[in-house]
């Protein structure tokens, strides 16, 4: 089939269970221009170079007019779609209550709590012959963790679940489609979700608790304060990114291990391999398959000139299976050395929550693996979520 319809085929829901042959086709082509004018990049070294290229913008407002859609009335722009220096300023402020240098011990201090959440979810499996890894484990775990970390009431999950789904759908990379309407619906959900989170934060002004929303509004250094709009955009981003991706990582992890019983058995015997196994999962079945960027100048990629202003889609999941970078890339190998995968991206937008996702996945799988002794998959492949970008099973029923 023609290479210029590749993104359409990747987005075709029928290809969700196994997009990897399409990625191989992409790497074969090098750079693939699509009929709608966007460009796909699938080779590891090309993607890596572009993620470190200052002429590549994460800000969609730099797209040329035909790709941009109509301007929105009220638009919430978070650091993930901003360039430096704004991106750097916001990311540094968002990092203050989350990681080094201001909060170096924050995540480590959550290990016990995460393990306890995992244990409680697993205890609820008792007496049940069949469970759904997504609904019963991989979704509630990161939701509980991010709620705790941000300071969002866990019981509000049904409230933000819908906003989150709408926003995810609006941010999906879809070829050809006019983004205006999707962005309008997504934008409205962002504004509502942002208002909800800012209200929560405002309740903690002057009454700080041990959570990030409290830290954001009670920051003593005036230079460290986010504006109301920045707080809304950042909190929405953290809440969504904090669980919608980790659910895929954990679910893909269980699915991959059940498909590789020898490796599952090995990890049961040698749990010290788990951190390495999680890295391999991030390579082999990453939660985020692609990111979109915009060149600010005509740039040369593997001998092809990609014009300024076009949508440039970096297929991270394809780079992760590039035989020019990884030996035997189609093999799931929890002991793989030199595994500098693109599961968290690279460069200045390297996943902010990566350290948390690692800890969650390691603890989740460590707790689950002993229970997967005689487990079988009810359905293989399982039903997938709609998105080709945030790819993962919608449900993963297993028999215990």
């Amino acid at each position: 089939m023609a290479i210029d319809t590749l993104l359409e085929r990747i987005n075709d829901y029928a290809n969700r269970p196994d997009p990897y042959p399409l990625y191989a086709e992409l790497r074969e082509a090098g750079v693939a221009r699509q009929t709608d004018g966007s460009y796909l990049i699938g080779a590891y070294h090309d993607i890596m170079a572009l993620l470190h290229d200052p002429r590549i913008s994460a800000d969609r407002r730099n797209l040329a007019a035909p790709y941009r859609g109509l301007p929105q009335e009220e638009e919430q722009i978070s650091l993930i779609v901003l360039d430096d220096p704004e991106h750097h300023r916001l990311r540094s402020l968002a990092m203050r209550p989350f990681g080094p240098p201001h909060s170096p011990g924050r995540l480590d201090a959550m290990r016990d709590e995460i393990a306890q959440i995992a244990e409680e979810l697993i205890e609820a499996f008792d007496g049940r012959a069949r469970i759904d890894i997504v609904d019963d484990f991989a979704y509630p775990l990161p939701v509980s963790v991010i709620c705790r970390l941000l300071g969002v009431p866990r019981e509000d999950e049904p409230v933000f679940r819908e906003w989150s789904a709408t926003i995810i759908d609006s941010a999906d990379i879809k070829p050809g489609a006019d983004p205006t309407e999707r962005r309008r619906v997504g934008g409205r959900a962002r504004v509502e979700m942002g208002r909800y989170l800012v209200d929560l934060a405002e309740q903690r002004r002057g009454h700080p608790r041990d959570d990030m929303l409290s830290a954001f509004v009670n920051e003593p250094d005036p230079a460290g304060l986010l504006t109301r709009e920045e707080l809304a955009a950042t909190a929405v981003l953290l809440l969504i990114a904090g669980h919608e991706t980790t659910v895929n990582l954990i679910t893909n992890g269980v699915l991959t291990l059940l498909r590789h019983p020898g490796q599952l058995e090995r990890l049961r015997r040698e749990p010290e391999l788990l951190p390495n196994a999680v890295e391999e999962l991030l390579r082999y079945e990453p939660p985020v398959h692609m990111r979109q960027r915009t060149p600010l100048a005509n740039i040369d990629v593997a001998g092809t000139t990609v014009p300024k202003g076009v949508p440039l889609v970096l297929m991270l999941a394809s780079g992760n299976r590039d035989p020019n970078r990884f030996r035997d890339p189609e093999r799931f190998d929890p002991t793989r050395p030199d595994n500098q995968h693109l599961g968290f991206g690279s460069g200045i937008h390297l996943c902010y929550g990566g350290p948390l996702a690692r800890i969650e996945a390691q603890i989740a799988l460590a707790a689950l693996i002993p229970r997967l002794g005689t487990t079988t998959l009810v359905q293989d492949p399982p039903p997938y979520r709609r998105s080709a970008m945030l790819r993962g099973p919608r449900h993963l029923p297993i028999e215990l």
Binding site: D83, N324, G347
Partner: protein, 456 residues
């Protein structure tokens, strides 16, 4: 690999970063013969970068900087004994304790030492220090912890600037005397030197540029120094940070091309003898080596960089146990870093190999920037200040001899600045004929090849 390369006796002189990494690599490459590592310091290999940073701040003990070993190199360690001579005919390294060690192949990794103050009596004053070894760092840290009234740092290079930074962070008054027009000017040129000078003054450093120290004063104990502008500094600690001297004196009689600028070698780390003939069994790596680099018009480079010690040692070790067609060139692009006054400075390429510089991203005002250096229209170096994540991109431009100035389009670039490169204000490298440009290609060390493009 032929058995005669896999076996035999290898001696490494120098038990620091390059020596250790070479020893490990030799074993990784399948060397099964006897391996001896000789070091004049009594300590097992340790890491030096923290000595002027975390150690001086008291956040890390001087003796806690041991280098982690990637594997046990299964070597005989002769520590605390200095190599005093080399007999290339008898293939022996002579030691200060009168013994000698025989080798089939030798690696010279003796590195550098701190340049001492020129007047030995003044240098012997209590309170006068240099900073190179972990013992130096331990003694200096102890003195800083005692709360001196003022520290005088002589020399505004990276080490001197880092020492001044540590003093200010500890709340100690510090005067820095620099002979050139500004701190770091020798390494980074005029533009970034201005940034460094402003930063030091903003952090309360009493910065004196364009002056030399003419005498250290004291009676047994250091009490102050005279400067060439006629002024006098009262201080009770003095750190001499005037660069390094290469440890090559022990090779004076060895017939090698060894001197104050290092031991000359080819791109495969084989030492040249005094007639310019390459040796078969003597290799050099790390700060002691002087090697030709194709990206910099084959000029002989001697680098005092952590990263160079590692990669050059790995190449040298590989070549020591590999037959000629399998040998590799040491083509790594030089990289180094420094942290001082809250800034993270990283450099790729050779900033001194330049005639112009532009700020390609960020700005001096933000104290976040990428400075790109060019020489005769191609990019030869880049220095990032608090923007290290972009370094890789500029390394690619250096490796492919991309045109200077870099094209516009950086998301956070200042097009007006980028359009007007200014002189880089480093000493212009000596006039050269218009030669070919050379690009590095390939991703894996064993696939690095040079592609020579004829000059236009």
């Amino acid at each position: 690999m032929p058995d005669d390369l896999r076996e035999g006796r290898i001696v490494i002189v120098g038990a620091s970063l390059a020596g250790l990494r070479a020893a490990e690599t030799l074993r990784e490459e399948g060397f099964t013969g006897s391996l001896t590592v000789i070091g004049d310091e009594p300590h097992p290999p340790y890491d030096r970068p923290p000595l002027s940073k975390q150690v001086l701040l008291g956040r890390m003990a001087a003796d806690a900087a041991a280098l982690p070993m990637r594997r046990d190199p299964d070597a005989e360690w002769r520590l605390g004994v200095r190599a005093t001579g080399l007999d290339p005919v008898g293939k022996q390294v002579l030691l200060a304790d009168g013994e000698s060690v025989t080798y089939d192949r030798l690696l010279i990794a003796t590195g550098t030492r701190a340049r001492p103050w020129r007047n030995a009596d003044e240098a012997a004053l209590d309170g006068v220090f240099t900073l190179r070894t972990r013992d130096d760092a331990g003694r200096l840290t102890e003195r800083l912890a005692a709360g001196p009234r003022r520290v005088l740092v002589i020399g505004g290079g990276f080490t001197g600037s880092e020492i001044a930074s540590a003093c200010r962070e500890r709340g100690i008054e510090v005067t820095l005397a620099e002979r050139g027009p500004g701190p770091l000017v020798g390494a980074l040129g005029g533009t970034l030197s201005m940034l460094a000078a402003g930063l030091q003054r903003a952090h309360g450093v009493d910065l004196r540029c364009g002056v030399t120290v003419t005498a250290l004063r004291g009676n047994g104990r250091f009490t102050g120094a005279d400067l060439s502008d006629g002024s006098r500094i009262d201080a009770d600690v003095c750190v001499v940070a005037m660069g390094a001297v290469r440890n090559t004196e022990w090779l004076a009689e060895a017939g090698l091309a060894a001197g104050p600028r290092g031991v000359a070698c080819d791109a495969g780390c084989r030492a040249f003898n005094m007639y310019g003939i390459v040796t078969d069994d003597v290799f050099v790596a790390g700060d002691a080596a002087r090697f030709p680099h194709p990206l910099f018009e084959y000029q002989m480079l001697s680098l005092e960089h952590w990263g160079n010690a590692v990669t050059q040692a790995e190449v040298a070790a590989h070549n020591m146990v590999s037959p000629e067609p399998a040998r590799r060139p040491h083509l790594a692009v030089p990289v180094f870093w420094s942290s001082q006054f809250g800034l993270n400075i990283k450099s790729v390429g050779v900033p001194t190999f330049s005639d112009q510089v532009v700020i390609a991203q960020g700005s001096l005002d933000e104290r976040r920037l990428v400075a790109v250096y060019g020489y005769r229209g191609r990019i030869t170096a880049a220095v990032t200040v608090n923007m290290a994540k972009w370094l890789e991109y500029y390394q690619g431009l250096i490796e492919t001899a991309a045109p200077f100035p870099p094209g516009p389009g950086a998301a956070d670039g200042r097009p007006l600045v980028a359009a007007f490169p200014i002189p880089s204000n480093v000493p212009d490298p000596k006039g050269l004929f218009h030669g070919p440009t050379v690009a590095l290609t390939g991703y894996l060390p064993d696939r690095r090849l040079t592609v020579v493009r004829p000059a236009d």
